[in-house]
């Protein structure tokens, strides 16, 4: 680059003015919300833990959203941290420890609530918000038990309010494009016969916090926890969470149901607490499951594994058909199709329509009269998805929820959708327990 072509440098005094202002200006969102006016949605954040903060970072990037109430039982740490972060982002809000007090005082000033509490609290919290007249974005899993998940579906129906379940891949532009354009409209995989998925995560110690942040035992007990250790690591405890198959597997088994357009007929599973202590890891640290899906095209067998001792390969889903294969993952940039060159028609027209990117190893241009340019072994053709998303992973799903409240779009993951996935996933733990095959009946999925 030519030195002389550069734009003028920032004047040092201007620069100091800018940065001095920056130091003072983190407290007000008035400029933003003033522009939004009546289109603003007022939202309560229930649960200021890690997942609540992930959702907050997405909300911050969506215009016309105001988080005006926060509820978290951990006053000593999480409530303070989340409240501080809300203030940083200019969300003027009131903070509460008790959700019922929050709803009593705030419900008339709220449009919606985001529920990001431990799974065993989802039903009580979502139902209370729905009954208070709020639309609800409820984190997955809907609940750790099916009766409680059903309560949410019923409350959503009876209240007439919207209930979005937090399977955020359902709003991911890459997944939506792949499902609609490549699998449904163009059937690029041919007949899908097999699916597989995994989420491998490396070994982790239980979460801990400095003792000075401990909640008093009475508050822990009031909210269903035996100890701080159990509170911090609730995902591993029976009665509170469902273990990795629910925390991680649920996202991807949800994609099986969605992409295959079917409910499973059976599941076999093997799993156990093989590595960690059963005292701290009541749910299985390793699970492998095999589903059988009857689809209009025929049976699909789908396998899934989640392990928590080695992260090799990370997380992805594979769909295999008689004409091609799809690898897709929420992890950005991981999405490819492979054409079965012996059995699939040419995909040139698909590429021309812009539905797939050119094969990364396109045949080299050859001189006239030459039939082959001989070289290092060429791999079979793989095609990349043309859709990329630069938004945070949860942002499109929250946007879909907020857009649905404003009217004009349908929810991408309704209470009924979330319930079907909850049935599918929670039965895996049941199959592990029984060490056998668990059958689903159509009525299992109906409410």
């Amino acid at each position: 680059m030519d030195h002389n072509k550069r734009s003028p440098r920032i004047d040092r005094r201007d620069f100091l003015k800018t940065t001095a202002a920056a130091g003072l200006a983190l407290g007000s969102r008035s400029l933003v919300s003033a522009a939004g006016g009546t289109n603003d949605l007022r939202v309560a954040l229930i649960g200021g833990g890690n997942q609540g903060m992930v959702l907050l970072e997405s909300c911050q990037k969506i215009p016309n959203i105001r988080i005006t109430a926060l509820c978290d039982i951990w006053e000593e740490y999480r409530q303070k941290y989340a409240s501080g972060r809300l203030r940083t982002y200019g969300y003027e809000h009131n903070a509460y420890t008790d959700i019922h007090e929050m709803l009593d005082k705030e419900k008339d000033r709220l449009d919606a609530a985001i529920v990001a509490t431990p799974d065993f609290w989802h039903a009580d919290h979502a139902v209370a918000c729905l009954n208070a007249g709020l639309h609800v974005y409820c984190e997955k899993e809907m609940s750790n038990t099916l009766p409680n998940a059903r309560r949410i579906v019923v409350a959503a129906r009876e209240s007439g309010k919207l209930l979005q379940v937090g399977h955020q891949r359902r709003s991911n532009p890459r997944y939506r494009f792949t499902y609609q354009k490549l699998l449904r409209e163009n059937r690029l995989l041919g007949r899908i016969t097999t699916a597989t998925g995994q989420w491998n995560r490396s070994r982790q110690d239980p979460l801990t916090m400095p003792a000075r942040y401990n909640m008093p035992p009475e508050r822990l007990e009031k909210y269903g926890f035996r100890s701080m250790e159990q509170f911090l690591n609730w995902r591993w405890y029976r009665g509170l969470g469902g273990g990795p198959i629910v925390d991680l597997g649920s996202h991807q088994i949800d994609i099986f149901n969605w992409f295959l357009g079917a409910r499973p007929a059976s599941v076999m599973a093997s799993g156990g607490t093989d590595y960690y202590s059963k005292d701290t890891h009541e749910w299985y640290d390793s699970v492998m499951a095999v589903f059988e899906y009857p689809t209009p095209d025929g049976t699909v067998r789908a396998s899934y594994q989640t392990i928590t001792t080695n992260g090799f390969g990370g997380y992805f889903e594979l769909f295999l058909g008689d004409q091609g294969s799809l690898e897709i993952s929420e992890s950005s940039g991981r999405g490819k199709l492979y054409r079965d060159i012996a059995n699939a028609p040419d995909w040139g027209s698909i590429v021309k329509q812009g539905l797939l990117r050119e094969p990364e190893e396109a045949p080299r241009t050859q001189a006239p009269g030459v039939v082959l340019d001989v070289r290092e072994t060429a791999p079979p053709p793989s095609y990349a998805l043309p859709v990329q998303s630069t938004k945070l992973y949860h942002q499109p799903h929250l946007e879909n929820f907020f857009d649905a409240i404003r009217g004009g779009v349908e929810l991408n993951c309704t209470a009924e959708d979330g319930y079907e996935t909850a049935v599918t996933v929670l039965k895996v733990n049941e199959a592990v327990e029984r060490a056998g095959r668990v059958l689903f009946t159509p009525s299992d999925f109906e409410i």
Partner: protein
């Protein structure tokens, strides 16, 4: 003693520390590494939906909202860009001045297309600073934190010791030791080109080849106060990182002047000869 490592941001983060219950040290370290992983998702230009990737995709006139940590890094980068007469430039000459930062809205506006940010030069230091926040929250005060040996933050030393013993050496496996340091409550940043042409002089748009390495160190408080001028939370390691990168590019006169006019900041440059800019450093550089 406890000693733990974690791979992130294409390097290895490491904490050596001492605390009464080493298990507490390890728990604190684990929490600190979790923060690094979260920061990487936000700050890495290699991650498609990071704040930095979104900025790098902006067309002229477009804007994007970034999170708190990204805003902090951008504000610090802009401060250091000004402080070093654009020798420190996270856009590597692609037009950092074409980005307008609107802090009160967490908004970054591109006045022109084609700006490509790479926080490689301060992201690791910023992560090290945030790791220190976590360790101190756990009341682990005796520790040495670093990312890839180039972004270093020394908290208090082990009991009974003056400081954490460090050296600056010629690059290469058997490089001569150029200086010995004893570090406590200070940050040290190092830059060099022994792994290839990765430092670009944005002023001329070419990789730096005239210098082999640069080091900057200063008391933690001095560097943190510098960053606070841009409204940035205590970020001594990030500032040291920025200065060591800039000093691969700045003229020798400019480096000397900088160290003279900033109490406590000390630098070394390895070019044809080894140069030491003691500034007015109160640190003991034995």
């Amino acid at each position: 003693m406890f000693h733990v490592q974690h791979a992130a941001m294409a390097t290895v983060f490491e904490i050596r520390g001492e605390c009464r219950d080493p298990d507490v040290g390890r728990q604190a370290a684990r929490a600190a590494f979790a923060v690094v992983d979260r920061l990487e998702q936000t700050l890495s230009r290699f991650i498609e939906n990071s704040d930095i990737s979104r900025i790098n995709h902006l067309a002229a006139g477009e804007s994007t909202i970034v999170g708190y940590e990204t805003l902090q890094c951008l504000q610090l980068a802009r401060l250091m860009y000004g402080q070093t007469a654009a020798a420190f430039d996270i856009s590597l000459g692609t037009g950092f001045e074409n980005l307008e930062i609107v802090p009160e809205e967490f908004r970054v506006v591109a006045r022109a297309a084609g700006v490509r940010l790479d926080l490689g030069a301060i992201g690791k230091g910023y992560a090290v600073d945030r790791m220190a926040d976590v360790l101190e929250d756990w009341e682990v005060s005796r520790a040495l934190i670093h990312a890839g040996a180039s972004s270093v933050l020394a908290l208090d030393p082990k009991a009974g010791e003056e400081g954490w013993p460090l050296t600056l050496s010629e690059p290469g496996h058997n490089g001569r030791v150029l200086a010995k340091l004893s570090a406590r409550q200070c940050a040290l940043g190092a830059s060099g080109i022994s792994k290839g042409d990765h430092i670009v002089n944005g002023l001329v748009g070419e990789p730096v080849r005239s210098r082999t390495a640069a080091w900057v160190w200063a008391p933690r408080r001095v560097l943190a106060d510098l960053g606070r001028r841009a409204g940035v939370d205590a970020s001594a390691a990030a500032v040291a990182d920025a200065l060591s990168t800039a000093f691969m590019i700045s003229s020798i006169d400019a480096i000397e002047a900088y160290c003279q006019s900033h109490d406590g900041i000390e630098a070394w440059i390895l070019a044809d000869t080894f140069l030491h800019f003691p500034g007015t450093s109160p640190l003991n550089t034995g």
